[in-house]
């Protein structure tokens, strides 16, 4: 069996294709009517509880330590949790536990082994974050066919579900924790990404927190004291906030009067949609700004957009559609929601068929082309000014895979190694992400002006590969890339063993 996995900030899903090529979600093996797994993990005594089971455990033990939102830590090579046996857990290894759970669910549902999978990543994920996902999959013993960007996966599903052809589509993907804007063109042959952009810490989590703040404020006003927060009340507050967000997403609701129970505190709240919209307005404006920047990045005008597809649970908030319809007037009547919760996972399953050569069998368009999400460059030190300078090798929004070759020279006769910093950035004024140190050497015959040809490739799944050659001999030089930034060597092995030894709890 091949699957598509949507590894989300708040929820994760796994999907595969039925014999006729229809993508279906696979249920939780413990709760058979639930098709999503909260991306929450509790680790204790070499056993990990993942998903809804964690909620059940919190209700019994409000102080239970729970790991959430680990996706936001991808690409940061630092532990996020230390278990009772003093084992350090990194975002990659925690994600591996969620993947392991999804794998178990899929295998228990289909009765066959998970051979390989396509895993989705936010379109704006940088190289380090993508490699973190690959690390997680390796730790969970899931062979990865490829990574696919969440908006692209959703667009693939939309394209297949609606036989939609020949159009320029903007995918506005506002999930639980990240936001992506992607401009795509679709035709009968396939899907072509024209541009992409996004925000890392933006999504349902922030919106739920806005509602939680309103509830806490109302509680304080009604009772005169602050609501005590522990694991259980925090879970209940999050649940209620999410419920309220969903109810307020119904177009007819101007306000919501609701009796709620948090911990042992029961009261009645009144939440106004306008107030909620006010609280999230700034965040929505940011997403609109990024969407417009993305359209601009594709070299298009708003009037060139044929349709705008809303994906992700948070995109169901009516204010978002209203706001977008004001800026993308051409697509006003073509702004629509498409399977906001499921499209990404199901699109990933479709992409798994594309990558494994089954596309024709299922009548799935064969072509797929992504673009680079960032400028990729090498940071060097200007010998005159002694200031760092960035030499751009691959530009943003170039078709994938993209390759660039540049020759650098040693500056002294005794220089046996060359150290280059690889960076990714949207523009030089914004954040420059160091994706790792490329150490070349020892050079076979050190001398001044020794030429080293560096090849940088942004691969089909958006990760960065590098190689260094001696241009005179064509011989590849010894090199190490990214060991300063990514989990590697013994640590990777140790984390892999840790994940392997950790049993995923299953109540059945």
């Amino acid at each position: 069996m091949r699957a598509g996995i949507d590894l989300g900030t708040t929820f994760s899903l796994i999907s595969n294709l039925e014999s006729d090529g229809t993508p279906v979600l696979m249920p939780d093996s413990m709760f058979n009517d639930i098709y999503s797994t909260p991306s929450t993990v509790n680790i204790s005594n070499k056993c990990a509880s993942v998903g809804y089971l964690v909620d059940t455990l919190i209700e019994q033990n409000p102080e239970l330590p729970v790991i959430r939102f680990f996706k936001r830590n991808f690409g940061v090579n630092q532990p996020i949790f230390i278990d009772s046996a003093s084992n350090s857990w990194y975002p990659d290894s925690v994600a591996a536990l969620v993947l392991k759970k999804l794998k178990n669910d899929a295998e228990s549902y289909t009765g066959s082994k998970l051979e390989s999978a396509v895993i989705t990543v936010p379109a704006h994920f940088n190289d380090l974050q993508r490699k973190s996902v690959l690390n997680a999959a390796a730790m969970a013993d899931i062979p990865v066919l490829g990574l696919v960007e969440e908006p692209v996966a959703a667009a693939l599903h939309y394209g297949i579900a609606h036989h939609s052809r020949d159009q320029v589509l903007v995918v506005y993907d506002l999930g639980g924790g990240t936001f992506d804007a992607t401009v795509l063109s679709m035709d009968a042959n396939g899907v072509y990404v024209l541009a992409k952009d996004g925000l890392t810490e933006m999504g349902g989590k922030e919106f739920d927190e806005a509602i939680s703040a309103m509830i806490l404020d109302q509680f304080k006003k009604a009772t005169g004291f602050h609501l005590p927060i522990n694991g259980l009340t925090s879970l209940q507050l999050r649940r209620i906030s999410e419920e309220i967000k969903i109810e307020l997403s119904l177009p007819s609701k101007a306000f919501l009067k609701k009796a709620i129970l948090i911990g042992n505190n029961a009261f009645e709240i009144m939440i106004y949609r306008k107030e909620f919209e006010q609280a999230i307005r700034q965040m929505i404006e940011q997403t609109v700004e990024v969407t417009l920047r993305c359209i601009d990045g594709a070299g298009l005008r708003e009037s060139d957009i044929d349709a705008l597809m809303l994906v992700g649970g948070s995109a169901m908030i009516p204010y978002i559609k209203d706001r977008l319809s004001k800026v993308i007037t051409n697509a006003d009547n073509k702004i629509f929601l498409h399977e906001p919760m499921k499209a990404v996972a199901m699109g990933a399953a479709i992409h798994s068929a594309q990558l494994s050569g089954d596309a024709e069998r299922y009548d799935i368009p064969l072509e797929f082309r992504g673009v680079t999400g960032y400028n990729i460059g090498i940071q060097t030190l200007n010998p005159q000014t002694r200031k760092p300078e960035t030499d751009c090798l691959i530009k943003k929004n170039m078709p994938l895979p993209s390759k660039a070759v540049r020759t650098y020279y040693t500056s002294t006769a005794t220089q046996t190694r060359m150290v280059l910093q690889l960076v990714q950035y949207v523009d030089l004024q914004s954040e420059i992400i160091n994706i790792g140190e490329l150490v070349i050497g020892p050079l076979p015959n050190p001398r001044i002006n020794y030429p080293v040809e560096v090849t940088v490739e942004n691969t089909g799944d958006g990760t960065v590969k590098v190689a260094a050659y001696d241009p005179n001999t064509g011989v590849e030089l010894q090199q190490v890339f990214g060991e300063d930034k990514l989990m590697s060597g013994n640590n990777l092995l140790a984390q892999r063993n840790l994940v392997r030894k950790t049993v995923i709890a299953n109540l059945n």
Partner: protein, 572 residues
């Protein structure tokens, strides 16, 4: 009046039903606010005091406010100066709460709230795009709304029936359209007051709904908790493998077999090692003996009357014994190390297996052999039992005489040739020739005697070597016998002692586990029984709740309809 009493009864009866259901489900004290609300509700259905709310636009025209409040309360009030105004309404007291417009936020559970809401609306509120939503929110908690606006607002701004449990009647006035009878004046009419009383019941009924909702949540939470507990309780039981007494017994058997096997292998390995060590010619002891014997000096001689006795020099014997001692001792010491390491590895292996099975650590104690036992064996065995003693015949005329016997004929021949007549004429030839031949003969006799003597010496030397080789073999064999016995005894003793320790510890653990498992089983049975009780309680609560809700919906619909019909005539 009749209908009012009926309604009052209906509400009280519904509340009593809810109280009973809550009490039976055991949820009454799950939430303090819920418990408080359940206790306080009957008193909130008090008809002696009817609450009204007046909200106004901050900055509203003062004269307009005064006229509006005069129509409502009977007294012209100044905005911001009065928060509460009371007036008599028949036998009851009408209490007007006066506050600027603000968003309605959280309310206490069971808080029925004022029955009539008066909105004194200024121009600035009408300009506020969110004002309609604000009013809509008020209409969700007040069944009767009277709007008084400076400039007039659209008639359809609020419609009765926008919310279930919400507004039933809306009146919309400007100063110009205000009815001649003031609101406080209306309250003097028993019929109108009776409508207000029904509104109190209706509001009380609505407040029961929020309590019902919380009760539903409590039941749902309890149900979820119970499901979770039921699901996870199985996981708290004995761990697989290390748990049941049966599995402990199996583990003991497996570990014992493994221990016996490992000890037998060790014993065999050591014995085989010694056998190889002693193997003639190729064995290490044999090679070392050969090396030592290569240094064997000439045998010492001492003259006897007729013979020369031969023996191995004492210094060499000591050297040889030291060499053999050192060699065998080293070999045995290596075996001591092997035994110690094997014991250690076996112990570690067993401990690892035991840990893996989830069993408690067993206090194994493998005692290795000591140097002392070895040195006793060595000291008693390294000795020469039968030392070589040889002899050579003494060299003298007799040896030559004996040797001469072999040459006797030749000598006679040569000697007689001296007197042969045939050669008499050539005596000058025959005599020297005979002398030369006799000389040669004598030379060979001498040579033969010396060679025989040397050969005899060499034979004796070899005998001495053989003697020492045999002695070395004997010592090796003797040590091997004793050593193997000591080693075997030691291994067997360790095997027995540690097997017993293993048996004892794990059986004790097994029986403890069995008791624990029985206790656990009893505990789980008790928990399971308590779960069943809880489950039944929850199921009963859920069933009663559903029935209550159906009743509630019906009563509310009736009340809503009757109150709405009554209120239609309210402004008349």
């Amino acid at each position: 009046m009749m209908s009012e009493q009926i309604n009052d009864q209906k509400v009280k009866s519904l509340f009593a039903d809810l109280t009973n259901i809550v009490a039976e489900s055991g949820m009454a004290n799950q939430s303090k606010q819920f418990a408080d609300a359940m206790r306080e509700l009957p008193y909130k259905n008090d008809l002696s005091k009817i609450k009204f709310r007046i909200s106004y636009t901050p900055g509203v025209d003062r004269s307009f406010f005064e006229q509006a409040t005069a129509w409502i309360t009977g007294a012209a009030l100044v905005p911001g100066e009065t928060a509460e105004k009371s007036a008599h309404a028949g036998d009851a007291l009408a209490v007007f709460e006066i506050a600027p417009f603000e968003n309605i936020t959280a309310t206490q559970l069971g808080d029925a709230g004022p029955v009539v809401f008066f909105g004194i609306i200024g121009a600035s509120d009408l300009a506020d795009p969110d004002f309609a939503d604000k009013l809509l929110a008020y209409s969700s908690v007040h069944p009767y709304i009277i709007l008084l606006s400076e400039t007039g607002i659209a008639a359809d701004t609020l419609k009765p029936g926008d919310h279930i449990g919400g507004v039933l009647h809306v009146e919309n006035y400007t100063l110009a359209t205000l009815p001649s009878t003031s609101f406080i004046g209306r309250l003097d009419h028993p019929e109108f007051l009776h409508k207000m009383h029904n509104l109190v019941h209706y509001n009380a009924l609505n407040s029961i709904e929020s309590l019902y909702n919380v009760f539903s949540m409590l039941l749902e939470q309890e149900n979820r908790l119970l499901t979770g507990r039921k699901a996870t309780i199985g996981q708290q039981g004995p761990k697989p493998g290390g748990g049941s007494a049966g599995s402990v017994g199996e583990t003991i058997l497996k570990l014992r077999n493994e221990l016996t096997e490992q000890m037998a292998m060790l014993e065999k390995g050591l014995a085989d090692g010694f056998e190889n060590y002693l193997r003639p010619q190729t064995g290490q002891l044999s090679q070392v003996t050969d090396r030592l014997l290569a240094d064997l000096p000439e045998l010492a001689q001492s003259e006897k009357t007729k013979t020369i006795s031969l023996h191995i020099p004492e210094q060499y014997v000591n050297f040889f014994l030291d060499g053999v001692f050192g060699e065998i001792n080293k070999f045995c010491e290596d075996q001591l190390i092997t035994i110690r390491d094997a014991f250690k590895l076996t112990q570690q292996d067993l401990e690892r297996r035991i840990e893996k099975e989830g069993l408690p650590q067993v206090p194994f104690n493998f005692k290795p052999l000591t140097d002392k036992q070895l040195s006793v064996i060595m000291n008693s065995s390294i000795r020469i039992d039968k030392i070589y003693e040889g002899a050579l015949p003494k060299q003298g005329p007799l040896e030559y005489f004996n040797a001469l016997k072999s040459y006797q004929a030749m000598l006679y021949l040569f000697a007689s040739s001296l007197g042969l007549s045939y050669f008499e004429k050539a005596r000058y030839i025959t005599i020297p020739a005979a002398i030369v031949l006799i000389g040669i003969c004598i030379y060979y006799i001498h040579k033969s005697v010396v060679q025989e003597y040397r050969e005899a010496g060499e034979k004796e030397y070899l005998k001495a070597k053989e003697n020492l080789t045999n002695e070395a073999k004997r010592m090796g064999g003797e040590i091997a016998r004793q050593w193997n016995k000591v080693v075997t005894d030691q291994i067997k003793m360790q095997l027995t002692q540690n097997s017993n320790t293993l048996d004892f510890t794990l059986k004790e653990f097994g029986s403890k586990k069995q008791h624990e498992a029985e206790d656990e089983k009893r505990r789980l049975e008790k928990i399971s029984q308590s779960f069943e009780v809880q489950e039944k309680k929850i199921a009963a609560g859920l069933k009663a709740k559903e029935s209550f809700h159906r009743n509630f919906i019906r009563v509310r619909a009736d009340l809503r309809q009757s109150v709405a019909i009554q209120l239609k005539k309210a402004d008349r």
